[in-house]
């Protein structure tokens, strides 16, 4: 299984989003609490409540989100999530370790220790990730379609290598998402495989069709 680990920049941006979200929550809470203030007792109780909210947000916001959904709202926005280093979902203890150790990664300010550790590690792990056995990785995006509209098959030249055949099919499958001009441009990259006077896009799609299905559907048999 392959997973793509996320680097410091995108993680920093996700962190910033989470900081903003937490600030908004605290400000909203302050506004809500100010409405119940009035007597001396309710003033003090509101302050006590605010301190507890601040405590919970600073230690458990990231921990709870990661343990329950795999990523914080900020990470989700950037398509990141946290897994254990064997790609299994993060556990409560993993989430707790990696997030409690933020106080050390945050030394002496704005995650300097964490950044240095990440740059020294080949999987971009900060101290919390090293101790928790966790990785921050990219979530797989939704699959592209494997279909493309073309009904003519042409056998590709036999000297085409395996990688080249794969590239041809990938091109045809992606062509649905590309403008005709961009298709021309990309097909130009493979021009060394083609005769000069042919329509490159058309030829490549025909090859792809042949590679995927064989000459006719009837011929697709096991060898």
């Amino acid at each position: 299984m392959q997973i793509a680990v996320a680097g410091p920049v995108i993680r920093g941006m996700a962190w910033l989003v989470d900081v903003i979200i937490r600030s908004i929550i605290l400000i909203a809470l302050l506004i809500a609490l100010s409405s119940i203030m009035g007597s001396r007792q309710s003033d003090y109780s509101a302050m006590g409540f605010f301190l507890i909210a601040q405590f919970l947000l600073s230690w458990f916001y990231t921990t709870l989100f990661e343990a329950m959904t795999g990523s914080t709202p900020g990470k989700k926005l950037y398509g990141l999530w946290v897994v254990h280093d064997n790609a299994t979902p993060i556990t409560w203890s993993g989430a707790l370790i990696r997030n409690f150790l933020r106080v050390v990664d945050n030394l002496p300010f704005i995650y300097m220790v964490g950044l240095i550790t990440m740059l020294m590690d080949n999987r971009f792990r900060r101290l919390g990730d090293l101790a928790g056995g966790t990785l921050v990785v990219y979530r797989d995006r939704t699959t592209d379609s494997t279909s493309f509209a073309h009904n003519e098959g042409l056998p590709p030249p036999e000297w085409l290598s395996r990688d080249e055949r794969q590239a041809v099919v990938d091109f045809a499958e992606r062509s649905e998402q590309l403008s005709p001009e961009r298709q021309q441009e990309l097909a130009g990259v493979l021009s060394h495989l083609l005769d000069d006077d042919t329509d490159a896009v058309h030829t490549l799609k025909s090859w792809a069709h042949w590679i995927l299905r064989g000459q006719t559907d009837a011929q697709s048999t096991r060898v």
């Binding site: 007792q41 003090y44 006590g48 605010f50 301190l51 050390v104 090293l130 592209d144 299905r213 697709s220």
Partner: protein, 328 residues
Amino acid sequence: MLNQRGFEQQYEKDWARIEATLDSLESWRFSKKRVADNSDLPTLYAALCQQHALAQSRGYSHALTKRLHELITRAHHQLYQNRGHLLYRIIQFLGGGFARAVREQWKLLAISSALFFVTAFICGGFAAYSVDFADLFMGSKNRFALETMYDPARGSIREEGMEDDTNFYMFGFYIMNNISIDFRTFASGILFCVGTVFVLVFNGIQIGAAAGHLSAIGYNETFWGFVSGHSAPELIALCISGAAGLMLGMALIKPGRQTRRLALVRAAKKAVPIIVGAGLMTLLAAFIEAYWSSKELDLSIKISVGVLIWILHILYLCLAGRGRHHHG
């Protein structure tokens, strides 16, 4: 060799089935989309991995291998997910899991307790002997503030007439302040124990000096009356947090026959129940401190309750979860 379209046709049914199962498993627990039977997921998952490998080795298109890979990832996450009743686990934890985890680390707990209490007794002794030492340990400004706060002439250690109004505020303050100290004591252990040792010794100096000085000037009723109730959960939890921090540091200093990283991961995992329990103990301490400690009662009652709470804590840590060997 089968071409790609033939391959897709052959297995499309399995993939659609796995996709439906995953959709339902990923949906909310009570959603209508949930299907009852997903017992064939492991078989389908194993087959899927094989099909993915085949697709890769045969050089099928990236879109196809990517689709299969995504299904594998999703199935992997469903199969290796932790499940278990949270409530059951909490009861298991409080009923003995926590105490067992702490007892297993009795050596480190002894070290962290020694760091704190020995420092506190030494500094307390010196501070009681001479005010100059008290000033050396905490600074004259802090000493004045402390003397004002615990002045028996004032009647109450909180502002006049405010006792009950401020209870909840103080509760919030103690949670924020004291539990955060526990968590920092734990986390800073990863710096080869240095952070943890610093926190323990620093708190030992401050608390010891305060206790020594206030006893020497005869503020026993106010000081010991206030601190006796919550002292057990708060100080024991600090030492337990220290032990959890030392676990991290010792894994790096003395990893044994494994890599430092692996030793750290294992130690951290073992430290989790310990630091969670320490946090809960400090929550209890905050509650006692906010609602009981500031009550004006006879010193003998306050001290007796304080001693009782100490005995209960020690009994709990020594005895809870003994004899039963199931793991929660």
